[in-house]
């Protein structure tokens, strides 16, 4: 009995890492020459950085037993606003602050306020806002990509520090901040309490609506920053950018052991969850698996990872 408890606790912390290692070993065996090259490892991190960013945000709505289906659309809209501001002559830093940071926070706040005001499940609200945000992106861009913003911006965001790409540094340091936030601050712990039982949290003096709002603002902020990373990497703001990214974000969060029922989950595991998604994409590309098959594998993986988590959780 007690050994099982220990196993369960260990799995909570290292389970996701185990899955990642298994996948790495698998691809190394299948592609011994290319997959394990240092350049490819860096590439995996780079490819994962946007997934990690939006997954970090998605973690919070799922932590309160909700969900945010609009992260892909938020990524596109904030990226579009940032690009248009830069094209209109705004200083890139200001454009990022207004479009990426400000835009993300505002769109997240819209989600949060709608959830609080209507009392509907976030699934429904963000299903709606996903369409709305995507529609607005199309409207303000005339459904065509926006190019022509400064090289300085692109070079800074897509550059390297030593051998590490800037987006990787950015995503990992942001993860570190959020890790500290969830593990050490009162606000972070309150969010876990809301996730465990909203009613109990309410009667314990926690302002559930305020925390719900904050949760969706964090999600929006992360998607907004991912939007900035995305336009820098592509060199253009695509109106269809980030389509379907919510799937990857949710998958990363759930593979990272976060409970769909709320109140359980850890930031480092979400980062590893994001890396798993990136590694699979990368590995399948190297093995020249066609994109459509990649989707099939990805879907199968999401189900197996969650099933495994449930199985081991039940052993406790």
């Amino acid at each position: 009995m007690s050994q099982r408890v220990k196993l369960g606790k260990l799995w909570d912390i290292y389970g996701t890492l185990c899955i990642l290692l298994v996948i790495v070993v698998l691809f190394s065996a299948l592609s011994p020459t290319y997959f394990t090259r240092p350049e490819n490892i860096v590439q995996i991190f780079l490819q994962s950085s946007i997934t990690i960013m939006i997954a970090l945000g998605e973690f919070f709505p799922i932590l309160i037993a909700g969900i945010d289906l609009s992260v892909g659309a938020v990524l596109a809209l904030t990226g579009m606003i940032t690009a248009q501001l830069m094209v209109a002559g705004f200083d890139p830093t200001l454009a990022v602050l207004l479009g990426g940071v400000g835009g993300g926070l505002v769109l997240g706040a819209i989600n949060g306020l709608l959830v609080n005001f209507t009392g509907l499940h976030p699934f429904i609200i963000t299903l709606g806002t996903n369409a709305i945000f995507r529609g607005v992106t199309m409207i303000i861009s005339g459904a065509s990509p926006v190019f022509g913003f400064s090289y300085d911006f692109v070079n800074t965001v897509t550059g390297f520090v030593g051998f590490v790409p800037v987006p990787v540094i950015f995503a990992l340091s942001f993860a570190a901040v959020l890790w500290f936030f969830t593990a050490k601050t009162r606000l972070g712990r309150n969010i876990y309490a809301v996730g465990g039982n909203k009613e109990s949290a309410f009667y314990s003096g926690i302002d559930v609506k305020l925390h719900t709002l904050i949760v969706f603002m964090i999600s929006g902020l992360c998607a907004g920053l991912a939007g900035v990373l995305s336009i820098a990497r592509l060199g253009a703001a695509e109106p269809a950018a980030g389509t379907g990214f919510e799937t990857y974000a949710i998958a990363a969060v759930i593979i990272g052991g976060t409970s769909f029922f709320g109140g359980k989950g850890r930031i480092p595991s979400v980062v590893i969850g994001g890396l798993i998604i990136g590694t699979i994409n990368n590995g399948l590309n190297i093995l020249r698996v066609p994109t459509f098959y990649q989707l099939v594998v990805m879907g199968g993986l999401i189900i197996s990872a969650v099933a495994l988590d449930r199985l081991i959780g039940r052993m406790r």
Partner: protein
């Protein structure tokens, strides 16, 4: 604890009729909690057997084992002489065991007729197409209902529109159609008027005369004496007596149910000064719908515990929610030592030093994903933190000290404060919640059903805490549906009915009867 019942009916079955059902040495554990510890029960045809016991004694669990919902951990169930280690719901149903729960299981949207035949509608064929045979249903139903002496009941009306007594009769009729041999009735009279109760009893006597065994669960001893032939008593999962009801007085039965005769009281020792300023003053509190809570005013003085008694659904919990800001109010003010603290929401309530131990610890009490430490710490952290309880870092060191203190003070039985609250027994979970509220050093404490589902030991401990708080000058309010508990702890008893305080009785002189007569008084 001595077994007070003489062994009139030994396990060898000295009575004339062989039992239909015999439960021998039944044991049941949930997780690590032992709920039944070797319970015996014989049910004979043509007899009304009464099962007695306090709340939490294990009666429901025993019934759920008999009807196949729970598996027993140990013991034998003998059906018609055949011994089983457990019964499945199917076996129970084939043996003719049928149960009518307190919460009726009729489907309110369906008509009486449909309810009677639900899951087994008779079918006739017209041109080869199977169709519901309403005529056959009607005829069969009328004969059963007629047998129950209730002809003229509109069988086509949705049962949701019928009085509860009629719904109950339909449920009984449903059992009879399945050829019932053992009918279990769980507190069937709790929501019936006296006339309806009499009619039900006539029906029970008729079933008895037809040879059906009736197992009757009730807390009302007078009723039990009127309808019952034999009885068994459960106390804390142990059989503490059985025999013929006529051979025992009500006092005997109560002693078997409660065990210790000593009923500790925790009333204030000195006189309470009600002339000086009250600690808590509540003025004209009305709920937003102006129905559930209507214009309630009261005062709590230094050293006093104010109890709220009343029937379930009388609005006591709604009042507490209104006081705590958890439910919107149309009007009302709350003063603590003369200062207006009327909270708009629980955040403000906590910040101004109110504590509210809610009625349902699983739904509105504890945070299931937290440890003992986390559950105790989170409210204090919210109270201390600026910006509506959000700002600042968690001080683990200080929180561990606080949690440790509460664990010792309340003697919470656990492996350590890092244990998950889900692993604790109900009583210990409740103590953790008491500890959570104690840690904010509240000035106003509301206890709503503080000892529901808690064993006797933990109960008196919580009563002790309540008294200590009152003595320390806190305003203490206790809501309870258990009148003995109200009488044991409260210095004054506000009797609630239909969202109002009907009367405030002196705790020292109040009795269960005096409280009930106010709680059920008709009119305004």
């Amino acid at each position: 604890m001595s077994n007070l019942a003489p062994n009139t009916a030994g396990p060898a079955g000295t009575e004339a009729v062989a039992p239909i059902v015999r439960m021998v040495g039944i044991e049941k554990h949930f997780n690590n909690v032992s709920v039944l510890k070797g319970v015996n029960l014989d049910i004979r045809p043509g007899e009304v057997h009464v099962l007695l016991g306090e709340n939490g004694a294990g009666k429901s669990t025993l019934m759920k084992i008999l009807t196949g919902i729970h598996e027993p951990t140990g013991g034998d169930i003998v059906l018609d002489g055949v011994s089983h280690s457990l019964v499945t719901p199917r076996q129970a149903s084939e043996a003719g065991i049928s149960i009518i729960y307190q919460e009726l299981s009729v489907i309110n949207e369906l008509s009486a007729l449909e309810n009677l035949f639900v899951g087994r509608l008779p079918v006739k064929r017209r041109l080869g197409v199977p169709m519901v045979d309403w005529k056959l249903m009607e005829a069969e139903a009328q004969s059963i209902i007629g047998r129950l002496g209730l002809g003229g009941l509109d069988l086509h009306k949705p049962v949701g529109e019928m009085p509860i007594a009629h719904r109950q009769i339909i449920e009984i009729a449903k059992s009879l159609m399945k050829n019932v041999r053992v009918l279990i009735m769980d507190e069937p009279t709790s929501s019936l008027t006296s006339v309806e109760t009499e009619r039900l009893f006539a029906l029970v006597r008729q079933l008895k005369a037809e040879g059906t065994a009736v197992l009757f669960i009730s807390h009302k001893l007078d009723e039990v004496r009127e309808i019952g032939d034999s009885f068994s008593v459960l106390k804390d999962g142990v059989s503490t007596g059985h025999g013929r009801i006529a051979d025992f007085t009500n006092d005997d039965l109560v002693r078997m149910m409660v065990g210790r005769v000593v009923k500790q009281r925790f009333l204030a020792e000195g006189a309470i000064d009600r002339t000086s300023m009250p600690v808590l003053k509540v003025e004209n509190v009305t709920s937003a719908d102006r129905k559930r809570v209507r214009d309630v005013s009261f005062e709590v003085h230094h050293g006093e515990v104010l109890g709220f008694a009343g029937l379930v659904g009388s609005g006591r919990t709604d009042l507490m929610n209104c006081l705590f800001g958890a439910e919107p109010r149309a009007a009302g003010k709350i003063f603590l030592n003369g200062a207006d603290i009327t909270p708009k929401n629980p955040v403000e309530a906590v910040k101004s030093g109110m504590a509210y131990l809610t009625e349902n610890r699983r739904q509105t009490g504890f945070t299931p994903n937290f440890t003992i430490e986390g559950n105790i710490a989170v409210t204090k952290s919210v109270k201390d933190a600026p910006l509506r309880g959000t700002w600042g870092l968690v001080d683990r060191k200080a929180e561990r000290v606080t949690a440790e203190e509460q664990r010792k003070q309340l003697s919470i039985r656990c492996a350590g404060i890092d244990q998950s609250i889900l692993e604790l027994s109900g009583g210990n979970q409740q103590k953790v919640l008491v500890g959570k509220w104690m840690s904010i050093a509240p000035s106003v404490i509301i206890f709503d059903e503080p000892t529901r589902g808690i064993d006797v030991g933990a109960k008196s401990q919580i009563h002790e805490i309540i008294r200590t708080l009152a003595n320390a000058g806190k305003a203490v309010i206790m809501v309870s549906s258990e009148l003995p508990e109200i009488l044991a702890v409260c210095d004054r008893v506000a009797v609630f009915r239909n969202g109002r305080i009907m009367d405030v009785l002196d705790g020292a002189t109040a009795t269960e009867e005096s409280i009930l007569s106010v709680a059920m008084r008709d009119g305004k």
